[in-house]
Amino acid sequence: MKLFKEIISYFTKITTGTLLISLVAIKISGVEVWTTDILWHIPLLGLVTTIITVAALPDKDYTRREGIIRYSLHFVLLSAAVLIMGAAFNWYVPSLLNCTVMLLYIVAVYAFTYITRYISSKRSADELNKALERRKRGK
């Protein structure tokens, strides 16, 4: 159940981030017409990257060193999945320039996902701080 919740949480954040960045990318690309296949491509990419995320960043404690290795590995696997699937979905024509642009989009989705995660953790910490304060005042 905990794993399922984690998968849903990652899937929602990654897919939302991918959708928002896709909107920007479509606008920039200047291509006026896209097939409805993209409606399946985005959640499919979201699902694959969610599986990579859950496998690379399991719900356990890491040391700082292990965390850096895991996050680096995660970013590499994620980038590879997006570049391969993006090319297969005809989102871009593989070239050095296009791959670089795609990597920038990946960084943007990565940042979006982790900023929302940090905000959520910060909100949780603030709630706990208030509860701690109430507990101290009650003594």
Partner: protein, 152 residues
């Protein structure tokens, strides 16, 4: 215990303090309260450079297990305790103490502030300036103890 009447009588200086509980029959919650009061007041025997000293649990910031030895960290002094961490966890179950990782039990009343840390963990800044890491798997227990998302 809802709607319970609490009466505090002020005593002259030097008089012996006493707690009297009036109830039909002590239920589980009252027993927990008695146990918590008793645990807070019982002093802990510790080792300080070879000699035994008694310290008050409320002075302990956290207990930590290091290589099969358990230490009690007070404001600016560390004592060794000849107890297992799980025994301390059981003894102080209904008090301010809470297990926050495999090797640490923290005194919640000594936490100044919590901040989010790497990979879902929380970092606790203590009143003496020390920091302790709360493992992500112990965060739900902390929330429960503080009455967030469950009963405290």
């Amino acid at each position: 215990m809802s709607g319970i009447k609490i009466t505090i009588e002020e005593l002259p200086e030097g008089a012996e303090e006493e707690i009297v509980i009036r109830c039909a029959a002590p239920d589980e919650e009252i027993l927990k309260l008695i146990y918590a009061l008793k645990s807070r007041r019982d002093k802990l025997p510790c080792l300080d450079e070879g000699s035994i000293v008694m310290i008050e649990p409320r002075c302990v910031y956290y207990f930590e297990a290091v290589d099969d030895r358990v230490f009690a960290y007070c404001e600016n002094k560390v004592y060794e305790i000849r107890r297992k961490l799980y025994e301390l966890e059981q003894q102080f179950e209904n008090t301010d103490f809470l297990r926050i990782s495999k090797s640490v039990i923290i005194n919640l009343s000594k936490i100044k502030r919590l901040t989010p840390s790497f990979s879902g963990r929380l970092e606790a800044l203590l009143d003496n300036g020390e920091k302790a890491v709360i493992s992500r798997q112990y965060v739900p227990a902390l929330k429960k103890k503080l009455g967030i998302g469950g009963q405290s």
